[in-house]
Symmetry: C2
DNA sequence: TTCATTATTTGCCAATTGGCAAATAATGCA
DNA sequence: TGCATTATTTGCCAATTGGCAAATAATGAA
């Protein structure tokens, strides 16, 4: 894991707000489970509901949260809706977290 | 930002729980502001209180949250308490987030 | 020991979160 | 159109969060 080449500009309150919002979306274990599943390929809601083991209304709500911060995108095909990660680079954050937690 | 060399083992519910806890600690803009300040070097509580602009009891509480997940460590010197990031590699997560948000 | 300074803890309150279940919406077939 | 399937939204409720202010703890000097 190397340093990233991101500029060191001063962050505005809105920047922190936006970052906090994404972290908040990630602050639920069931949502993390969903994201990890999606990192391996698209899944439909019923799939994810089976995986998470909660009521489908809850899973749908979690997916709505993830959609809200742009982590996932939905694709309706007939009665079914499939979800995918909008950008897999978010998994890099998990790698960073694992390194942090291993330290 | 390159991929990290972390093993692909199956995560347990407790793993997701722990990850979610760290993300939760990061899900508040004022705590992000504190972390960013600490990434540049240690700061005392009064410093951070001035920076954040909230009541000192609130700042102390935020610092307690960060301590609880191991993001920061405290060092009491007399009446003052100084805080530092336990491991600066956590800043890599912010870099990943910025890349994600720029995508 | 008293008093001042600094930081943490606690209590209060409003807002938010997360789970279930019901209600509603979207899709597709007969 | 009616009905079935799938998913989303809404309502309810308990738990949690975050901010302020008061109470309490920790430190140090006189």
């Amino acid at each position: 894991m190397t340093s990233c080449g991101v500029s060191q500009q001063r962050k505005s309150p809105a920047d922190f707000r936006r970052s906090a919002d994404v972290f908040k979306a990630l602050s639920n274990p069931n949502r993390l489970l969903i994201i990890e599943a999606l990192s391996h390929g698209e899944r439909c809601v019923a799939d994810l509901t089976g995986l998470v083991g909660l009521d489908i209304s809850t899973v749908s709500n979690h997916l709505s949260v993830l959609r809200g911060v742009g982590l996932v995108v939905d694709d309706r095909r007939g009665a079914q809706v499939f979800y995918t990660l909008r950008n897999p680079c978010v998994m890099n954050m998990f790698c960073c977290l694992e390194e942090f937690q291993a330290s």
